[in-house]
Amino acid sequence: MRNLIKLISLYNYSITFYLLLLISSYFLITENFVLKTKYFNSSNYIAGSVFSAQSRVSEYFLLKKKNTLLEAENKKLKESLTNIRSINNFIENKQYNFIDAEIINNSVRKKNNYITINKGTKHGIKKGMGVISNLGIVGKVKYVSDNFATIISLLNNSYFVSSLVKNSNTLSSVNWNGNDPKILNLLYVPKHIDIQKGDSVITSSFDTIFPKGILIGEIVSINKDTNSNFYDIDIMSSQNFYNLSMVYVVDNILYQEKKALESDTDEK
């Protein structure tokens, strides 16, 4: 026992290092859901409160820019509304509610980027809801605390969005490869489909979290010389993640109904 204590005291510096190394490595590689949820909720609470205060100050200096953005958005919405009014049954079939929220923390330079917003369960935000802005889709709600929520950004390696190539209605997926925050990859478009540079890529609504037709980006390069049956396609993201400030969380009223029906169908 004495020798053990002697050994520990002799190498306590190295032991401390390896112990801390083990803890931080565990934090880094763990997929432990409970730990991650607790971490994100606690960090949401600490960082969220501080970032809210910071945001209140910086917001004041961005008012003019925000105003311009809102004017543009307002114009766009009015145009959409005019189109939508012509569809008589729109009100009866209303499927989505939108909860506006403000971004209080955002990152673009990591491989797995997250965004924090200033709304949480108290405001009706639930895990898994989609998040959009006036320029296109932003991400999906990952963790929620009472007053804040963490969004898994479209600029996150592990996030895939169900999409359609607008002109050909081809079902595909969009993912970010971790390099340029403006460029996304369009996956699973078969080589026999005719697609062109400049084609728009929109949400498909198959994942039930986004309404159909929300813009994701525009095709900028198509590579046919791949060993697989699919194209290698880059799209220019319609979203500017560098200056995101306002977003809308999409609440699909029929989400539970659709999921329940689909799971019933799967069981049978």
Binding site: L20, S24, L28, K36, F40, N105, S107
Partner: protein, 170 residues
């Protein structure tokens, strides 16, 4: 001591609220936290320095939504620093020096001491944060960010570490 805490506070806030959010020209990030990790006094086999670096990293992780990335990076950097400083400066001289600044070490020794640590810092960040570590983009990020940060740290020392501050730092 007061200056020490004030400096730490300012650099930490600068890192968390401003520079963590900015990517200059796609390849450059400024990490003022490196100033703390590089310059504070060396103490042989100091467990406190390991805990301190882990804590700084963990605090940055909280504000950065990057569970473990900075905690692990800062810890490895300080462990390497404590080894590297002995190789470059020697044990005897290291114990006499209070802060590892360019004023104390001289420009040549400071460069030899700081550059590998800075390169290791950005290599580790890149390794933990990026899927494709062996890519030209990552290599450019490591080289350019390391170079710019070295210049930044050097300028910081010349601007803020005059002899009066150094005396108080003691």
């Amino acid at each position: 001591m007061k200056n020490n805490i004030l400096l730490f506070g300012i650099l930490f806030l600068l890192q968390v609220f401003v520079l963590n959010k900015v990517l200059f020209y796609q390849y450059i990030i400024l990490s003022p936290i490196l100033i703390i990790l590089l310059l504070y006094k060396y103490q042989k086999n100091s467990k406190e320095s390991l805990f301190f670096s882990f804590l700084i990293g963990f605090l940055i992780d909280i504000f950065n939504d990057s569970l473990g990335v900075y905690a692990l990076t800062c810890l490895i950097i300080v462990y390497f620093r404590n080894f590297w400083v002995l190789k470059i400066v020697g044990e005897e001289k290291t114990e006499e020096i209070n802060t590892m600044t360019v004023h104390e070490l001289g420009i040549l020794q400071n460069t030899l001491y700081a550059i590998p640590i800075i390169v290791l810092f950005f290599s580790l960040l890149s390794l933990f944060e990026s899927d494709l570590f062996f890519s030209i983009n990552n290599l450019l990020f490591i080289i350019i960010s390391s170079f710019i940060n070295y210049i930044f740290i050097l300028l910081f020392q010349y601007l803020f570490f005059d002899y009066n501050i150094r005396d108080e730092w003691r």
